[in-house]
């Protein structure tokens, strides 16, 4: 039996939809239950519902064979997993944003204060540019940081850019494009190969933009 970790929240319904198209279906409504473990109707798969940022962890440790997670979450987690498929949904950009009209020259500042819930991604981005930073870790409403003088920049996920605009922020740089990825545990890929390849093939065949985003 294949164990697939999927994220609660905004990824839940599209994740279930791609699984459904690949033939992984459930007798009950997964979105309308408090349970966290569901077996598929044909008994071939088990889906576990976890917090979005925990999906890479479950997969990296092999507690789940596969998982569906945003590339943003994957980059931040630094999990050592296979990521064979882009599932096409959940398209966003990981960006650096600053208050509209603020100086764009980071070199002027002795240290740049960056508010983010992606401390690893942010640190790596600024390190690569030799810009000294102070990372301020927040867990939500990141846009508020520069508005109340907590930070000079933010590193955050942007879908349409509307939230940024409404808060007077502009994108300074795009760090990475993000969308939903199928990820696979490296060891289980070897020890449960035929089942996993079957799932990857079914998802690739059913997801229109898979692998070609």
């Amino acid at each position: 039996m294949l164990v697939i970790a999927i994220a609660k929240g905004r990824f839940l319904e599209p994740s279930l939809a791609v699984l459904d198209r690949a033939g992984v279906r459930f007798d009950e409504d997964v979105t309308d239950s408090r349970r966290l473990i569901f077996d598929s109707s044909d008994g071939q798969c088990r889906v576990i519902l976890v917090k979005p940022t925990d999906v890479p962890t479950y997969v990296e440790y092999g507690a789940a064979d596969a998982g569906i997670t945003g590339r943003d979450v994957l980059l931040e987690s630094r999990a050592d997993v296979l990521e064979p498929l882009d599932l096409g949904f959940g398209q966003c950009r990981l960006v650096v944003a600053a208050p509209n009209g603020a100086s764009s020259a980071d070199a002027d500042r002795p240290i740049v204060r960056v508010a983010t819930k992606y401390p690893n991604v942010a640190t790596e981005y600024f390190n690569r540019r030799s810009i000294p930073v102070e990372i301020i870790r927040l867990s939500g409403s990141i846009e508020l940081g520069p508005l109340v003088g907590l930070a000079d920049r933010i590193v955050d996920l942007v879908e349409t850019g509307r939230t940024l605009r409404d808060n007077g922020l502009v994108v300074v740089d795009v760090i990475a494009e993000s969308s939903a990825r199928l990820i696979i545990n490296r060891a289980n890929y070897q020890t449960k190969r035929s089942e996993i390849v079957g799932l990857v093939d079914a998802l690739e065949a059913s997801a229109p933009r898979a692998g070609r985003a």
Partner: protein, 360 residues
């Protein structure tokens, strides 16, 4: 923090059953190593930092525990055994008749996030063979790995076999800077098709080569994989790598063990010193590999003696998680009491080879 009670993160203390298990596992594996004529060597706990940096590469270099001695030399606590043994083989043992077969067991230290039972301090046990670059030598090392697993009652395992040369041959004359080749490698190692596609889109490269690179993540399976790979590439280095893997694979087909091997030409992860085959052993139920090995024909030249080499190591903390066989406790004690006569009785029992446990 209370340094008198807290232990440093990533270190460990084995007690009771855990020690019995460790020693039993070591004995079983050493018996297999000795059965294939590998002689144990006990190298130092530390050496000059440069010894390790030569082989492991930048990424791992950052994870070495290092310090400066009183004379100002930069030393490192061993982060692995292969470099240490290579240095010994290339210097002290350079006049010995090849092939030289060495084995080892001991703790190594790496400053990294503990994962899958592998802490910052963990136990490695493995073999190295110097002097031969044949497919037979590679097959021997794989067979030793398999037999060691079986000797522990681990009969269900899968070994993933790849080659650094297959990928190397494809990118050799491609004219990409090293940083781009590393990026390409990373994408292939993650089987990230969409990332690969995006990178290839931006590369000025002929379509034929792009087609090969697109196929690499899918080049995994049995003999059919080698056939598919051969029909893709024309360069010498890749074709030699395939022929070499075929010779190894044939050995396992002859022995009816090919089912335990998976050819995976998309797997090019490992230390910088790897130069030929590369393999990892996986056991169902554990999300991490239990063994890692490969060929490193150019490492010994760094130490002044140019000779080929191949080897592998187990991480015992991981292996122990999949060994289900029980390790019974020792025989129970026979001497009791704490007066002079019981001491004499204990000595008598010891002379008979019995276990005693005095109550003094």
């Amino acid at each position: 923090m209370n340094s008198l009670t807290q232990i440093p993160p990533g270190t460990q203390i084995l007690i009771g059953d855990a020690v019995r298990r460790r020693r039993a596992v070591e004995r079983a594996i050493f018996a297999v190593f000795e059965g294939w004529s590998y002689q144990e060597i006990i190298p130092p706990m530390l050496d000059y930092l440069d010894v390790f940096v030569k082989g492991m590469g930048q990424e791992l270099e950052d994870r070495i525990y290092r310090f400066i001695d009183r004379e100002g030399n930069v030393l490192a606590l061993r982060p692995e055994f292969t470099s240490l043994l290579a240095k010994t083989a290339a210097t002290r043992l350079s006049q010995e008749r090849e092939p030289i077969r060495l084995s080892y067991s001991g703790e190594v230290l790496r400053f990294e996030t503990p994962k899958g039972g592998q802490q910052r301090e963990f136990a490695q046990m493995g073999i190295e063979q110097y002097g031969v670059s044949s497919a037979t030598a590679d097959a021997e090392v794989l067979l030793v790995c398999m037999e060691a697993l079986r000797s522990l009652g681990v009969s269900d395992f899968q070994i993933n076999l790849g080659s650094v040369d297959f990928f190397g041959g494809i990118v050799d004359r491609i004219g990409l800077p090293d940083s781009e080749i590393d990026r390409l490698k990373d994408l292939l190692n993650r089987k990230d098709q969409s990332g690969l596609e995006r990178m290839l889109d931006g590369l000025d490269m002929d379509e034929r080569r792009k087609k090969i690179l697109r196929a690499v993540p899918h080049l995994t399976g049995g003999r059919d994989t080698l056939d598919a790979a051969r029909s893709l590439v024309r360069n010498d280095r890749s074709r030699k790598a395939i022929a070499h893997l075929e010779s190894i694979y044939s050995v396992f087909e002859e022995l009816d063990l090919a089912g335990r091997l998976t050819i995976d030409l998309g797997e090019i992860r490992g230390f910088d010193y790897y130069s030929g085959i590369l393999f990892r052993a996986y056991v169902p139920g554990l999300g991490f590999e239990v063994a890692l090995g490969g060929r490193y024909d150019h490492l010994l030249a760094q130490f002044g003696h140019d000779t080929p080499a191949v080897g592998f190591s187990f991480t015992l903390e991981r292996l122990e998680q999949v060994v289900t066989r029980p390790f019974p406790a020792g025989r129970s004690a026979e001497a009791r009491g704490s007066d002079a006569s019981s001491v004499a009785e204990a000595v008598r029992l010891r002379r008979e080879g019995k276990v005693v446990r005095l109550c003094s």
